[in-house]
Amino acid sequence: MLKISAEKLNELFDKIASQQTLYIPVDREDKCAEFKKYESGMTLSKALNTVRSAKDFFLPQTENLAEFRRSGKTIEVKDIRKESEDFVVFGVRACDAKSFEILDSVFLAEPVDTFYKNRREHGTIVTMACTRPEETCFCTTFGINPTVPGGDASVYFDGESYFFVPFTEKGKVFMASISDMLEDGDVTKLSEVQAKAREIMTRLPLANLTTDSFGGEKLMEHFNSEKWAELSEACIGCGTCTFVCPTCQCYDIRDFDTGHGIKRFRCWDSCMYSDFTKMAHGNPRTSQLERFRQRFMHKLVYHPSNHEGEFGCVGCGRCLSKCPVSLNIVKVMKALEDK
């Protein structure tokens, strides 16, 4: 297997960055990780995951769509679409890599979202295998193997060296561009590290969580459950869970009056907000209970029903650690399961 030693990792980053834009997770002052554009001297974060998910690269929080300008009685519409530049995202975890598949099933289905597609085609995802899963992790519930993270190419770390394996055409091109820095390496230690990680996965507090009670066919049973009232009681209606979630994909389209024209942009929306899907007649979900239910029904019932059984959650655990009142999908699943 091809590898590069840990000391040389930054040289590798420099080389990638000299060819195209590179994003890596780095530690902030508050010890939380976030993806940043690589600049020489940055160190790769050791954190398991970033606070914000990697979906930002393909579905940014705000994105301009078009501009309008009025002159006399005509309105000029300006298409401001630009071809995205090639970029590499390094260090994406298996859960986020899987979330791209879920986003693809929404945005690349007809009618194709060309803004999303543009970014997706130009981005190369280099994933990194997990060696230290946290207590909030439950990706295995959704059939994800964090020790084989997928993406265009994968990186495995054995404590001393980083091993590279390509999966897709894009991944092979990426590998070719750095091949002169890689050398053949022995994988004995790597297999040990992998085996240890797999063993820990079985001991995770949430390892026994299953999706058996969920899916498209459980629609009415869960929708009408009496548990929602109690579950949603403490929800403060903020958008934290939806904004840190790698698979939440709802957005709103808005116009902004700049004083000399109109900018049309889209931005993330949250089903937790009181004005979510507000229409001329008003709002279809008037209580926090309904909004709360919407989010989890979407992940566990509506999404699998519309996408061949694929759940809309990847078990990254971000909502578990970030919810201000510790409400999360795991609590919902356990409560609904409990007959």
């Binding site: 946290e134 403490a234 934290t240 578990l320």
Partner: protein, 323 residues
Amino acid sequence: MQEAMIKRAKELLADGTVNRVLGWKKGEFAYDSTPSVFETAEELERDFVCNDFTQANLSKYLIKESRKEGKILAFLKPCDTYSFNQLLNEHRIIRENVYVIGIPGGPKLDVEKIKAKGISGITGISKDNFTIKIETLYGTESMPFYEAISEKCSNCKSKKHVEYDELVGDEGDILNSKRFDMVEKLENMTSQERFDFWQGELSKCIRCNACRNVCPACTCENCVFDNPKSGIDQKAAADCFEEKMFHIIRAFHVAGRCTDCGECTRVCPQNIPLHLLNRKFIKDINSLYGEFQAGADRTTKCPLTDYDVNDCEPSIVHERGVE
């Protein structure tokens, strides 16, 4: 403490004084808890929790709960009673429908501070004098207790309950906190340094509105940022101006009403020190219009709905401190 609380709650449920109990419910892990309403003794036995991590301020839930049928028992920490009092001043809570038991406050711990030490895979946490022992998937770790104390408790302003029906445990005192130190440090920076500091912090904002929604002083039925008729409703900060606008207005709207309970900073998923904005207003109010603590009593007028003919002019801002 937890046992004493459950015992008293069961008594009050049994004798019909209250029909519900507002407290915290056990979570999945050693450190998470959810504010919850308990209706029976069995629920209390099974799920009620009060430990080093039950930080959430319960007073805001009482706006809704005090409008329901019957009386509710609420466990409030000292800082929560200030919020409770402030909400009473603003006629947001129906006092007759709430039975308040004051419980000792912190220092509460913040699991984020433990995780910031690089400790991950936490499966259990126990306290041993001044050390906390953390069981993880990767072995046992320990760290000094004080290093894990949450931001809101590390600068505690008061351990005194300002409103309650009865107390569990002893009454504390108003403390001499150093809570304005960081504000002062920023004030002594140059204007450019301050700008860079806040630009860095506020650009992390994802506009989840958690700081606003959790705030016991933010009780508008329809927030200006959610109201399409206001002309400035936003769902995301599309420009760094909008980040600043949101946070200035959020802090300004609670100026003079903010009790400095620290919930905004606690809930921020991006760890933005939002309490500094509120404390700046509190510090200014204290120094310009006399010492004032929101929620401390039921009679003092809020400084922004009051005035004195001899108040200083706004030009004072131009004259003091560092440009």
